[in-house]
């Protein structure tokens, strides 16, 4: 008998939570809310996908929130003030953020420093740099912005599958393929299993480290562009604390912080669970600022405890495989 996989359990927890919310607020069970869930969490889904790679490889990236912030400011200024065509600005920022991630990865590898701290410095740096660019929020009026934010596939029931939600879904799927089907993905798991061993087995640990952080920053850059579509503006204080949200999403999605295990789909479910909690609280609408926080904490606990409990239950019959001894 094979127990339920943790991924399936997370999905069940999500659906159960959704059902419970819908019982209390029937409005929740609409394609509109589902569309909103995807749109509102698009940038989170994208960064969390990148974060999944980092965490599976045994690292962590605290800089992503700041990179999003920097990206929004940079893009807004480039388009509005410096007169750069939007697409050129996008390419420029993606190159810039990828280079930023690569630099962090290189420092982590070459100087053998803890990723937590290197990326913490990266977080300060990117946020500080966006302050230097502009402390004011900069509205973006380029036509592409209204085109993108107006674009949406109508779902039955009035819900909108917006462009940024589609981008997010594409990245999640792309990320999942990259992680689970390619050599790069296998190496990510190898790194998380044990760096030294992976190196002895011939994995180019240094190159991989650089690439992984590059990927995470690149995704943060994409998330930043999406965020700027989302708000049609650039603002140096945007996405503060998103690093923790995305780490939480990754971990709720069943990825081990110690590395070596996890999946992009799990992360996606984690993002949705967090979005659910928020939606529920918004629908309730009677909670004070403090009860909002407390309720978020309690729901977070409930989801994780439920999920862990179920996983433990599924593993209960430890029928260890007795192999065919030669």
């Amino acid at each position: 008998m094979k127990g339920l996989s943790p991924l399936l359990i997370t999905a069940i927890v999500l659906v159960a939570g959704f059902a419970a919310c819908a019982v209390q607020f029937p409005n929740i069970a609409s394609t509109r809310v589902i569309g909103n869930l995807l749109t509102d969490n698009a940038f989170l889904g994208i960064v969390a996908t990148g974060m999944t790679f980092v965490i599976i490889s045994g690292g962590i990236d605290l800089s992503v929130g700041s990179v999003i912030g920097f990206t929004t400011v940079f893009v807004a200024l480039a388009i509005e003030r410096w007169g750069v065509p939007p697409l050129v600005a996008f390419v420029a920022i993606l190159v810039l953020s990828a280079a930023f991630g690569a630099a962090m990865g290189a420092i982590i590898h070459v100087f053998d420093l803890p990723p937590f701290i290197v990326t913490l410095a990266g977080m300060f740096l990117a946020r500080g740099a966006s302050f230097l660019l502009s402390t004011e929020s900069v509205p973006v009026t380029a036509p592409i912005y209204s085109t993108v934010s107006d674009f949406a596939l109508r779902m039955p029931g009035g819900g909108r599958l917006s462009a940024i939600a589609i981008i997010m879904l594409a990245i999640v799927i792309g990320g999942a393929l990259l992680l689970h089907l390619t050599r790069f993905g296998a190496n990510v798991y190898a790194l998380g299993g044990n760096r030294a061993t992976a190196s002895l087995m011939g994995v180019a640990v240094g190159k991989m480290t650089v690439k992984i952080y590059m990927l995470s920053s690149l995704f943060a850059g994409i998330a930043g562009i999406v965020f700027s579509f989302y708000t049609s503006a650039g603002y140096s204080l945007s996405a503060v604390g998103v690093e923790l949200d995305s780490i939480a999403a990754v971990v709720i999605g069943g990825t081990l912080l110690t590395g070596g295990q996890g999946s992009v789909i799990g992360t996606f479910l984690g993002v949705l669970i967090q979005g659910m909690i928020q939606t529920y609280i918004n629908f309730d609408g009677t909670l004070s600022s403090w009860w909002t926080k407390i309720a978020t904490g309690i729901l977070l606990f409930a989801f994780i405890a439920l999920q862990q409990g179920l996983v433990a239950l599924a593993r209960r019959p430890v029928a260890k495989r007795v192999g065919a001894a030669p």
Partner: protein, 302 residues
């Protein structure tokens, strides 16, 4: 057409980063109760994305109107368009948003934070006369639009007087603890405070911290060093009563009251309110009976 007594209004509040904000929330609730409005408050924990999510969920719940205290001036077009499509009027509280979206909301009930800074600056200029005066400034959170505006207004006012000079300016994050810490360093950096003639703080909380720092350094705030700040929270009046603070510019926490009235009038009679309902920025000093102000504000949830 909804009857005022049955109105359900969603309020996307920024968070509760300060006493003033808590007061705004509790005054809004009081005002709603007075008018029998069903007010749903969603707390955004300082994040624009949360506010957008909240507005979307208000739209999904089909509320009668949405109040928005925007955390930042930009980035509301898309979601406000959705509200408009759903024919839900939006009222901005406390801060304005960028011009491109003027037709997207019904009205804005706000104070003018640039003007607040000016009022503070003008008071200082008048009080100092033509004595040379070195000012230190405690800024709000870097990047916050209120901070930028209050700085801009004050700078404009001060620029008109050659004898006034801002010698140091650093962020105190709108908090007491940072206000105190930054003031401590200002005092050290400016010859033990002897070179400082006045402190301007972007909010009262920072000023309360700064006052403590001055006292601990053996200076007499309010006398050796003049103080002027913004918000008019109860504790600053306490300091005024003790002679340790000089002036504050009031930012009323009652933004929701006028907004309710505007929405009710719009819903019942179709009256379109003016685009901007500006609240008053009163200057309050030690001569304005601070004790009375303190007593009247104490119960408002600051």
């Amino acid at each position: 057409p909804a009857n005022a007594a049955e109105l359900t209004i969603g309020f996307s509040q920024i968070g509760s980063e300060s006493g003033w904000r808590a007061a705004e929330t509790s005054v809004s609730k009081q005002e709603a109760a007075k008018r029998k409005v069903n007010l749903k408050i969603a707390d955004a924990q300082q994040k624009q994305e949360n506010q957008i999510k909240a507005i979307r969920s208000f739209i999904a719940q089909n509320v009668d109107a949405i109040f928005l205290a925007p955390v930042v001036a930009t980035g509301w077009d898309a979601v406000l368009k959705e509200a408009k499509e759903a024919k839900i009027p939006v009222v901005l509280l406390d801060r304005d948003i960028d011009p491109s979206g003027k037709d997207l909301y019904l009205t804005a009930v706000t104070s003018d934070s640039v003007h607040e800074g000016e009022v503070a600056g003008d008071w200082l200029a008048k009080t100092v006369g033509d004595k040379a005066c070195n000012i230190v400034e405690l800024q709000g959170t870097v990047g916050a639009s209120v901070a930028a505006n209050r700085k801009k207004g004050f700078d404009t006012a001060v620029a008109k007087h050659a004898n006034l000079k801002i010698v140091r300016s650093q962020t105190g994050d709108f908090t007491r603890a940072k206000g105190k810490e930054v003031m401590e360093s200002f005092i050290k950096a400016e010859g033990g405070g002897k070179n400082i003639c006045a402190v301007y703080a972007h909010n009262d909380d920072m000023m309360v911290g700064a006052i403590q720092a001055m006292k601990e350094a053996g200076l007499k705030p309010g006398k050796d060093i003049l103080t002027v700040s913004i918000d008019a929270v109860p504790d600053i009046f306490k300091a005024m009563v003790a002679g340790e603070a000089n002036a504050t510019v009031e930012l009323t926490p009652n933004m929701a009251g006028p907004a309710f009235d505007a929405v009710a009038a719009f819903k019942e009679k179709g009256t379109v309110p003016p685009k901007w309902i500006q609240t008053e920025s009163r200057l309050l000093t030690a001569t304005d009976n601070p004790q009375k102000e303190y007593d009247s504000k104490k119960g408002l949830g600051y």
